[in-house]
């Protein structure tokens, strides 16, 4: 039924439909027709989501690692090619992006009332940029999408954001740009090493290419000291994006100031680009450096988990609380990935999706109440459950999903991550577990303060409950939370191959490292999981 997708450049179509939509809005629709623009843009996002669905069905779980490949020459003189392809990890992230895309468009209908034409143009451009990042199989192409995407996000925060929007927008842009230009140097180092020599390091000469697969192939043979340099260059780019402690300071600003849709996309998709970068590039291409820097990575992730949770607990602003909870949750993802074993990687990747769903939903829910009351201060609320029972229910489900209650998605992710972490180093797991407890504390406390108790503030009387549009965009998230929580097998099934692949890459490098440098005892010890 879905065989046709193999005959069309389906990835390019999914990637560029939003761009085409943006161009149509830009050139053919007038600023007077706000309603039409809104509906058209949302329609484009929805069509894009429908187009991306066949990927899930047509993806061959037993087939090659990367599928739906597209390949064409682009800049011959330096070996840049236009290469698209996705593996199981990218598949999930692409679907998450298109789904959250539709949801964020729908949520904007009532939130955005100024300069709507520009708003939807930027939102559509953002979709194309993000999808391209997950689909690109050529490092140059990847970098192009990675940077292109910053521009619309800058405008979304800067034009439609809150009171400190300008500061937050430029801070977001500068932070991520500094990270990505250093990553660019790492890419260039790989590129030249692949051709035979870089500075003092010599290797096998290969034809010039930016192919990510080729870099995967030579990964294990790159000298460990060079790997560390490249790893650090990548690290700055990805860690700022994740964000890992101590590179997280742009995030609360950006999240708090961004409009709801911007926050949803930031938390749901943009942060995942950082973790995706680690699992796609850093781990499999630079396994020796990964092993060498593992203690540092783990330490930063664990600090992030606990620190993010503690700071979240102290917040008075709901949006800020959710923002800091992201720092903590992403720390979880990172510790799962750096456990470098089956459960850890599986859980880490799944938790990316979970976090996208539950934190995305939390931002949407905060947006819903903000539109009604124009305040996000927790102290302004209390006793809402009687006024808005439906809202309270959805909020409760998402809260529970976020803190990892069994039968909901967060549980599956966190449990597998903790299993992996315990297997690697027992106290990583322990610290992670403390993070979960803290997470439950701040989320439940938030819930208690907002929904329970007497309705003291008269302004909260008679607030309208969720309307049909709001239910419409929250429902799929709630359904997915249950689906992943009750029956995660299909998700783990698509992750099987890529996770195994990353583990094999790390093992391969470890084998060569043992053969080449018998003195590297601590590295081996870590690799063995001690």
């Amino acid at each position: 039924m879905f065989d046709w997708v193999h005959n069309v450049p389906i990835l390019s179509i999914v990637c560029y439909v939003p761009l085409a939509g943006a161009l149509i809005v830009m050139f053919f629709m007038k600023s007077g027709q706000e309603a039409a623009i809104r509906k058209f843009a949302t329609g484009v996002a929805f069509v894009d989501f429908l187009l991306s669905l066949p990927l899930w069905f047509a993806f061959d779980r037993n087939g090659p690692l990367f599928q739906f490949r597209e390949s064409a020459p682009w800049i011959d003189s330096i070996g840049v090619r236009y290469e698209f392809g996705i593996d199981g990890i990218a598949l999930l992230l692409v679907l998450l992006t298109t789904l959250l895309g539709v949801i964020s468009f729908l949520s904007s209908w009532s939130a955005i009332h100024t300069r709507e034409k520009e708003y939807y143009v930027f939102l559509l451009l953002l979709q194309t940029g993000m999808l391209g990042v997950f689909m690109a199989m050529d490092f140059f192409l990847f970098y192009v999408f990675w940077e292109v995407m910053l521009v619309p996000m800058y405008f979304l925060i800067g034009i439609w954001g809150g009171s400190r929007k300008l500061y937050a927008a430029i801070k977001f842009f500068l932070y991520t740009l500094v990270g990505s230009v250093l990553m660019l140097l790492g890419i260039l180092a790989l590129y030249f090493y692949n051709q035979g020599s870089l500075f003092g390091w010599k290797g096998q000469p290969h034809p010039q290419t930016f192919s990510i697969e080729q870099f995967h192939n030579i990964g294990a043979s790159i000298p460990p000291d060079l790997q560390v340099w490249i790893f650090l260059a990548f690290f700055v780019g990805f860690a700022i994006k994740v964000p890992m402690f101590p590179f997280h300071t742009w995030l609360p600003d950006a999240h708090v100031e961004a409009p709801t849709a911007g926050s949803v996309i930031l938390a749901g998709v943009l942060l995942k680009m950082g973790t995706y970068g680690f699992v796609r590039f850093s781990l499999p291409i630079l396994p020796a450096a990964t092993m060498q820097l593992l203690p540092w990575m783990a330490a930063l992730s664990l600090i992030g988990i606990v620190y993010g949770a503690l700071v979240a607990m102290a917040q008075k602003d709901m949006k800020k609380l959710v923002a800091y909870s992201s720092v903590s949750h992403l720390g979880f993802v990172m510790i799962g990935l750096f456990a470098l074993n089956g459960p850890g990687l599986n859980g880490g990747v799944l938790q990316m999706i979970n976090h996208g769903l539950s934190t995305g939903a939390l931002f949407l829910l905060v947006g819903v109440i903000y539109e009604r009351r124009h305040t996000r201060m927790i102290a302004d609320y209390g006793g809402l459950s009687a006024e808005m029972p439906l809202y309270a229910t959805v909020f409760l489900i998402i809260t529970l999903a976020s803190i990892g209650l069994p039968t909901l998605n967060g549980f599956v992710g966190e449990f597998t991550i903790l299993t992996g972490a315990f297997q690697r180093v027992w106290w990583w797991g322990l610290l992670g577990a403390i993070g979960i407890v803290l997470g439950a504390a701040y989320m439940l406390w938030l819930y208690q303060r907002v929904f329970f108790g007497p309705l003291t503030n008269p302004e909260n009387k008679g607030l309208p409950d969720l309307n049909r549009r709001e239910l419409l965009y929250l429902a799929p998230i709630v359904l997915l939370c249950f689906w992943i929580g009750l029956y995660p097998r299909p998700f783990f099934r698509v992750l099987e191959k890529p996770v195994q692949y990353v583990m094999d890459q790390v093992k391969r490098a470890n084998a060569t490292a043992v053969a080449a440098a018998p003195a590297a005892a601590p590295v081996r010890a870590l690799a063995a999981g001690e």
Partner: protein
């Protein structure tokens, strides 16, 4: 006398010079030629010159293939080079000047100055640039450089009733004359040490000279003069004042055509004349490049005047280009060519937008004057946004691809520290480029009158530059091939 028939290959330069003189004459006779007519004559003669350049190129290539033409294609007793490298710069300079002519028409109308002299000087200077691209002895190069420079001094002060324009011209003249003197002094020292000014000859003899203190002193002075022309730190002090004071089309022309021609001779002299001492000047250029990138970008951070901001930006970009120069590699060389190509269109587009807004005072010269432009003219704001992104080096623009190659050349050439400075400073540059963007899209303004797009020539140039900026970023392949066909031999 070296073959009189060789002069036929100078047809483009001669034609352009003649057109310049014709305009001068046309302005003096009777009531003088009008603005439109002079511009038309300029455009036509620039187009004819470009045609002749291409014609000479094909004749030379055919001659080389049939062995009826010397290879390397040196004529006039080894003083005039007709290689692919020279044609690249000639075409670039001609296109840039033609675009500047189109940018100037309205501007001169409103300034109320006589136009024919202006275009005459522009063409004469451009003719000097063509000679610069082909010059193959230090003296030919120096004389053609002076041809360009003298005309530029006058052009910078062309708005003679404006104090700032006068100041610009005077500063430019005094400092320019000083640098020309230094350059000439360097040439004389090198001549004293080696007894030649012909570049190929010079390189050979320099390789044989050991321990003569005149040699390093000579090329250092020569280099200092060249750094002045490309506006590299610390020889950049004239740039901001001249860029702000000069009539804006002249500023654009100085930032693009003059800079490109200066880089042409810088490459020619460093690669061909000083090729045998390349290891020594590499370090000097590296230090200058780092200083230029750092200071150009830092100083731009605090600028409120758009022209001054673009002046510092053009200084910073000279620093990036120098990375490609000092890499002394294939990649480095064609990345310089590609980068200047991209930079020219981006900068002309940006200045074109400034000019359009300056007219009839839709916006002044400060960044704050751009407040709310996105609502008054979505087209112009969008164009300016594109140019600012390209100057920062964000894909998918030519600016990104150009910077990518330059940094690639640095990494390949083991100049990692320069590459790190380069990428960090370009990230910093986002801050000031985006100050303009910030005002355009997020600034509040009580001015709400839409800006009409009623100057077809100006709008056309801006749109063309935007198109070129995107084309260079999305399909850089053909342009890279063009640059690759225009290479110099590496030292």
């Amino acid at each position: 006398m070296p073959g009189v028939q060789d002069y036929q290959y100078l047809a483009p330069e001669i034609l352009l010079g003649a057109a310049g003189l014709l305009l001068l004459l046309g302005g003096a006779i009777g009531r003088g030629m009008g603005n439109r007519e002079s511009a038309l004559v300029s455009i036509v003669s620039l187009a004819l010159t470009a045609g002749l350049v291409l014609r000479v190129y094909s004749v030379v290539e055919a001659g080389k293939a049939a062995h009826t033409f010397p290879d390397p294609p040196l004529i006039l007793g080894g003083s005039f080079m007709l290689d692919g490298f020279s044609f690249f710069w000639k075409l670039l300079v001609l296109v840039a000047t033609a675009l500047v002519v189109l940018l100037s028409i309205r501007f001169l109308d409103e300034g109320g100055y006589r136009a024919s002299d202006y275009y005459s000087l522009l063409l004469l200077a451009t003719s000097g640039m063509l000679f610069m691209a082909s010059g193959y002895t230090l003296l030919t190069i120096w004389i053609s450089l002076e041809t360009m420079a003298l005309a530029s001094y006058i052009l910078a002060g062309y708005f003679k009733r404006e104090v700032r324009s006068n100041e610009a011209a005077l500063k430019y003249f005094i400092l320019g004359a000083l640098s020309s003197g230094i350059l000439l002094y360097g040439i004389s020292l090198l001549y004293g040490a080696t007894g030649t000014v012909q570049l190929a000859e010079l390189s050979v003899r320099l390789g044989a000279t050991q321990g003569n203190p005149l040699v390093p002193l000579g090329w250092l002075l020569l280099a200092a003069g060249l750094f002045f022309k490309v506006a590299a730190v610390p020889f950049h002090i004239w740039t901001p004042d001249v860029y702000v004071g000069a009539p804006t089309p002249v500023t654009a022309w100085l930032a693009v055509a003059s800079k490109a021609a200066s880089f042409a001779i810088l490459l020619r002299i460093f690669y061909e004349g000083l090729g045998s001492v390349s290891v020594e000047w590499q370090t000097v250029v590296a230090v200058i490049s780092a200083a230029t990138m750092i200071w150009g970008n830092l100083a731009a951070l605090t600028q409120e005047n758009v022209k001054r901001l673009l002046a510092y930006s053009s200084i910073a970009h000279a620093g990036y280009v120098l990375i490609g120069v000092l890499a002394v590699s294939q990649v480095g060389l064609w990345s310089v060519l590609f980068y200047l190509l991209a930079y020219s269109f981006i900068t002309l587009g940006a200045f074109g937008t400034v000019i359009l807004l300056e007219r009839r005072e839709y916006a002044g010269e400060t960044c704050a004057d751009y407040a709310g432009l996105a609502r008054r003219s979505p087209f112009l704001a969008g164009m300016m946004l594109l140019f600012m992104l390209a100057l920062t080096g964000i894909p998918p623009t030519g600016g990104f691809v150009g910077k990518f190659y330059l940094f690639a050349a640095a990494v390949q050439g083991r100049w990692a520290w320069l590459a790190v400075i380069g990428v960090i400073t370009s990230a910093i540059s986002l801050y000031y480029y985006f100050r303009i963007v910030y005002y355009m899209y997020m600034g509040d303004s009580d001015q709400t009158t839409p800006v009409p797009l009623q100057a077809p020539a100006l709008v056309g140039v801006i749109a063309f530059c935007a198109f070129a900026t995107l084309a260079l970023g999305v399909i850089p392949g053909p342009f890279i091939d063009f640059a690759k066909r225009s290479m110099l031999p590496l030292p």
